[in-house]
Amino acid sequence: MNKIPILYLNSILIASIQTELTDEEVLSFQSELLTKNNNLLTKGVIIDVSTLDVIDSYMAKVLSDLTTMVKLQGSAFLLCGVKPAVSSTLVDMGMMLTKIDTFQSLEKAFNFLTSNDRKYQ
């Protein structure tokens, strides 16, 4: 059962991960997100992690896989709010999440997707 609310606004799916999830919970979140994205034909998906204290290699891999899957579905995938301690931890671990488009805040990510001059189509 997925316990992260997934909101739909202006053709965009938004989810904020605010509690630490078990591996199984991460996978149910992933599967619900992909199903919703497929049904709604969105412009993009934004995942906010601004209150998440730990992103370990498992979570990092799921986020990286999600990027690929959401892009294959024809939508943009944006991650926002990675805490400084989390980003330095990921780099030191050797998890280079270079293929994920990241933004400093939910607002910036949202504005990017809704503005007309964005590079995504």
């Binding site: 999830l21 078990t22 730990v54 290699s57 671990m93 050797g94």
Partner: protein
């Protein structure tokens, strides 16, 4: 690994993935209470997450013990993750980036080592202890 007299603060049984979350939260909280920075708390918690996940992947179950210790002017927080599984065949190889006997990226152990001040492996078939330590200098 029994070189110091350790003060055990907490212990978490590792049986399911929820216990990974509990272990790292308790580790983080202990690091916070012991005066470590947010960055050090995060690194310690992430290392615990990697090593406790290995227990579920390679050994079915185990325990995560948390200790505090003062030694030679350092305050340390220690996590010992113990399991009764098959053991780590070649600890040296297991510590190299990209080495995995499973389907992982092989970043768990070497990555965790880069996040803490010390990582020690003591493994034989039937008993594996992975110990991670963060320390900070105390004055006075």
């Amino acid at each position: 690994m029994d070189k110091y007299c350790l003060n055990e603060i907490d212990s978490v049984p590792i049986k399911c993935t929820q216990d990974i979350v509990i272990s790292r939260q308790k580790g983080r909280e202990l690091a916070r209470k012991s005066g470590f920075s947010v960055s050090e708390q995060t690194r310690f918690a992430t290392a615990i997450s990697e090593i406790t996940r290995n227990v579920l992947t390679y050994a079915t179950e185990g325990d995560c013990h948390l200790f505090e210790n003062n030694l030679d002017g350092y305050h340390m927080v220690i996590a010992q993750i113990v399991d009764q599984g098959p053991g780590i065949d070649n600890p040296k190889l297991a510590m190299s980036d990209g080495y995995s006997t499973g389907h992982g990226l092989g970043l768990g152990l070497p990555g965790a080592k880069r996040l803490v001040h010390e990582l020690n492996i003591d493994s034989t078939p039937g008993k594996t202890i992975v110990e991670i330590i963060i320390k900070r200098r105390v004055y006075g």
